[in-house]
């Protein structure tokens, strides 16, 4: 009896150790590249560390200075605005594109390839391309408008406060994140049972009714996933898009200076690493709040079949 239980315990231990061994690579990666940097980030935010390494503990001074800075508050509002609008715009666009591509028609693969192609271009290259397109005097878009209207179009797309957001959100439609969302939505749409649409057809439902009563509820878990990913992408990944387009100051007049740009500016142009870390902590908390908020809302609006 004793022998049997000892053998079982040994087997259980071996099983546990095997499981831990399989988990170990991820755990080591998580500790080294996520947990430690996050803790280090919090620690550095309490110092006046400069980029050249000089550092002294200053308590909460970085946070106090940050909350007194009008530049920070402007950046915070821009970040919230940019994140929410970008998330909505890119999600809606990805759903629309997925719906269009979901119609059974000839050359569907070609359309999908053409739409997805800009998404695989590195974001920085994409941004520089659009910077050229949206130029004022030598921009391609103004050239096309001039040719079409016969008038000399001189719209300052990226520097005029009335057009900068239109231009920026338009560019976000071509990023990798939006392309990826479209593919995920497309696969989700394929999983919606055809019988439901057939039943709708029998009942005489309109395409809009079919979309809002069948399609959207059925793909709502995917909408939730994409919304979260889009949100995190807008918060953390917008830097690569905005830096080449509007610079570290978020021109014009700080209208596009999201927190990631300001963090870069403080750390690498002003060499204020401690201060930049304090801002990163705020960005981290905002990302957490967005995630929690979306999950909270999702409980009411997301439909899980099972």
């Amino acid at each position: 009896m004793y022998k049997v239980s000892s053998k079982a315990a040994k087997k259980r231990l071996t099983n546990h150790l095997t499981a831990y061994a399989f988990c170990a690579p991820w755990m080591i990666g998580f500790v080294c590249f996520t947990l430690f940097p996050t803790i280090f980030l919090f620690a550095v935010s309490l110092t006046n560390r400069k980029l050249n390494g000089i550092s002294k503990y200053i308590g909460l001074a970085n946070y106090i200075n940050m909350f007194q800075s009008s530049t920070f508050w402007n950046s915070l509002w821009v970040t919230l605005f940019f994140t929410i609008v970008m998330m909505i715009v890119t999600t809606i666009w990805a759903v629309v594109m997925a719906l269009l591509l979901n119609y059974r028609q000839k050359l569907n693969g070609l359309f999908q390839f053409c739409y997805f192609l800009p998404s695989v271009i590195p974001t920085v290259a994409l941004a520089y391309t659009f910077r050229t397109i949206f130029g004022k005097e030598a921009g391609l878009l103004n050239g096309i408008i001039s040719a079409m209207t016969g008038k000399n179009a001189m719209v300052n797309w990226l520097y005029d406060s009335r057009t900068v957001y239109v231009a920026l959100f338009f560019i976000t439609l071509f990023t990798y994140n939006t392309g990826q969302m479209m593919l995920i939505f497309r696969s989700g749409l394929n999983d919606v049972p055809r019988e439901l649409y057939e039943a709708c057809n029998i009942d005489g439902a309109s395409p809009f009714q079919k979309f809002f009563k069948i399609t959207l509820p059925m793909i709502s878990p995917i909408v939730l996933f994409n919304a979260i990913m889009g949100c995190i992408s807008a918060l953390n990944g917008s830097f690569a898009l905005l830096y080449p387009l509007t610079g570290e100051n978020g021109d014009p007049n700080g209208m596009s200076q999201v927190l990631s740009l300001l963090i870069y500016k403080e750390a690498f142009s002003n060499m204020k690493v401690g201060y930049a870390c304090a801002m990163s902590v705020v960005l981290f908390l905002i990302a957490c709040c967005f995630g929690i908020g979306i999950f909270a809302i999702s409980k009411k609006i997301v439909y899980y079949e099972n």
Binding site: L51, G53, M154, S161
Partner: protein
């Protein structure tokens, strides 16, 4: 027994001498003949970090020439200009020894010295041929207060008015002189502007100031720009006045407004004048499809010009410090300085070398007013370049917002000043 003692003493003396010799040779610079040191350094490799590509013409490549002259292999690490300062700061922070020589910017030298990232070169300079007493005054004053000589200026660049002679000829306007006033400049810019029938501008009188030359305008309008005693940015009425002028000129189509266009409108023949760095003389050379020349930046209330340089300095973590200094010694010598001047169009910061005029770039055959360079250098001070780039770039963004009519010049200057105050002295 006596003989044993004698041998013992001889061995002991030899051992002590040997140990002392070993210790001193580790320091390198205090003992040993120069020839021995040179021999030791030959064949070593020294890496230098810079932000611009070495000249493709080997005769104008000062690093290739330094290699030939010293026998030390010189490897050049080019770091893009936009990331240059931050990369070097990170290298200092992590104790990186991949670069033996840094060419560091004005706003970094004090911080690097304070962080122990670079070494004082005073011991080396004692036995060196580098003419440190002959540096232009601005360089000497910038280096003072660091407690040693941590860097040696690789050149002295300045800012100039570049103008299109063909456009001046066609408008019948006399060429700018070094005594041009700011009013002369504004008046000429207006006359040189050509508009299309729909009111849009076909030819601008002047290009918009760039991130560097905004400060020449502000300094010329009477602001101090940079206070070296406090390390602060000092802008006020002068900045408001200059920003207002630029805004008016942009509104009237004399200057283009800030935009995402990246083309150089002077080089593309769309603007008659442009305020730019002297290094563009070498860049333009004979490549422009029109005749052009240079003049001193027009004088407003004050004759003001921003000096630019970089400092050769030795990485404190370098394992090849002696060899690194030998390379610097060549680069700071007459031959090295002349090659640099010929390649870049920037004069040497050593007055006696600069006077010989190697900076008169041969390929820039249309330039006649070389006096503009020496005149500009006389008025040159280290200004905005001593401030963190985040602060000055932020100010330029504010000025651009005012030019675009998104805020008043007063608001822009006030906001730029407030940001500088919360940033500097961190």
């Amino acid at each position: 027994m006596r003989r044993k003692k004698l041998w013992g003493r001889i061995f002991l003396t030899a051992a002590i001498v040997g140990v002392l010799a070993g210790c001193s040779s580790k320091g390198g610079e205090t003992t040993g003949s120069s020839a021995e040191k040179t021999k030791k350094e030959e064949g070593q490799k020294v890496t230098i970090a810079v932000w611009n590509e070495p000249n493709k013409d080997e005769a104008l490549n000062m690093y290739a020439q330094a290699e030939k002259a010293t026998g030390i292999k010189v490897e050049v690490t080019v770091i893009p200009e936009s990331d240059y300062s931050s990369k070097l700061n990170q290298m200092v922070s992590t104790g990186d020894d991949s670069a033996d020589i840094y060419v560091i910017w004005e706003n970094d030298i004090a911080n690097f010295a304070k962080a122990g990232g670079i070494i004082p070169m005073d011991d080396y300079l004692k036995n060196s041929s580098i003419q440190t007493g002959d540096f232009i005054d601005a360089v000497s004053s910038l280096s003072s207060g660091l407690g040693g000589t941590y860097g040696l200026p690789w050149c002295a660049a300045t800012e100039l008015l570049f103008y299109n002679k063909d456009m001046f000829d066609s408008a019948g306007i006399p060429y700018p002189g070094n005594d041009w006033s700011y009013e002369d400049y504004k008046s000429a810019a207006e006359k040189l502007t050509k508009k299309k029938a729909d009111g849009t501008t076909e030819q601008y009188g002047s290009a918009l100031p760039n991130t560097q030359t905004w400060w020449a305008g502000i300094g010329g309008a009477g602001d101090k720009v940079y206070d070296p005693s406090k390390g602060e940015m000092v802008i006020g009425d002068g900045a408001v006045s200059f920003v207002s002028d630029v805004a008016t000129m942009a509104k009237n189509g004399i200057m283009p407004e800030p935009s995402s266009d990246t083309a150089d409108i002077f080089a593309s023949g769309k603007a008659a004048m442009s305020w730019q760095g002297s290094w563009n003389i070498g860049t333009y050379g004979s490549s422009l499809p029109f005749q052009w020349d240079i003049a001193t930046i027009p004088t407003d209330k004050v004759k003001y010009n921003t000096l630019h340089t970089g400092f050769y300095s030795i990485n404190a973590k370098s394992k090849n410090q002696d060899a690194a200094f030998r390379v610097i010694e060549y680069l700071m010598g007459e031959e090295g300085q002349n090659i640099n001047s010929k390649a870049s169009g920037n004069p040497s910061a050593i007055k006696s070398i600069a006077e010989k005029g190697a900076w008169k770039v041969e390929s820039a055959s249309s330039v006649k007013n070389w006096e503009a360079m020496t005149d500009s250098l006389k008025a040159g001070v280290f200004g905005y370049t001593c401030l963190p780039s985040g602060v000055t770039n932020n100010a330029v963004s504010e000025f651009n917002a005012a030019v675009l009519g998104q805020k008043t010049p007063e608001e822009a200057v006030k906001k730029a000043d407030a940001y500088a105050r919360e940033t500097i002295g961190y």
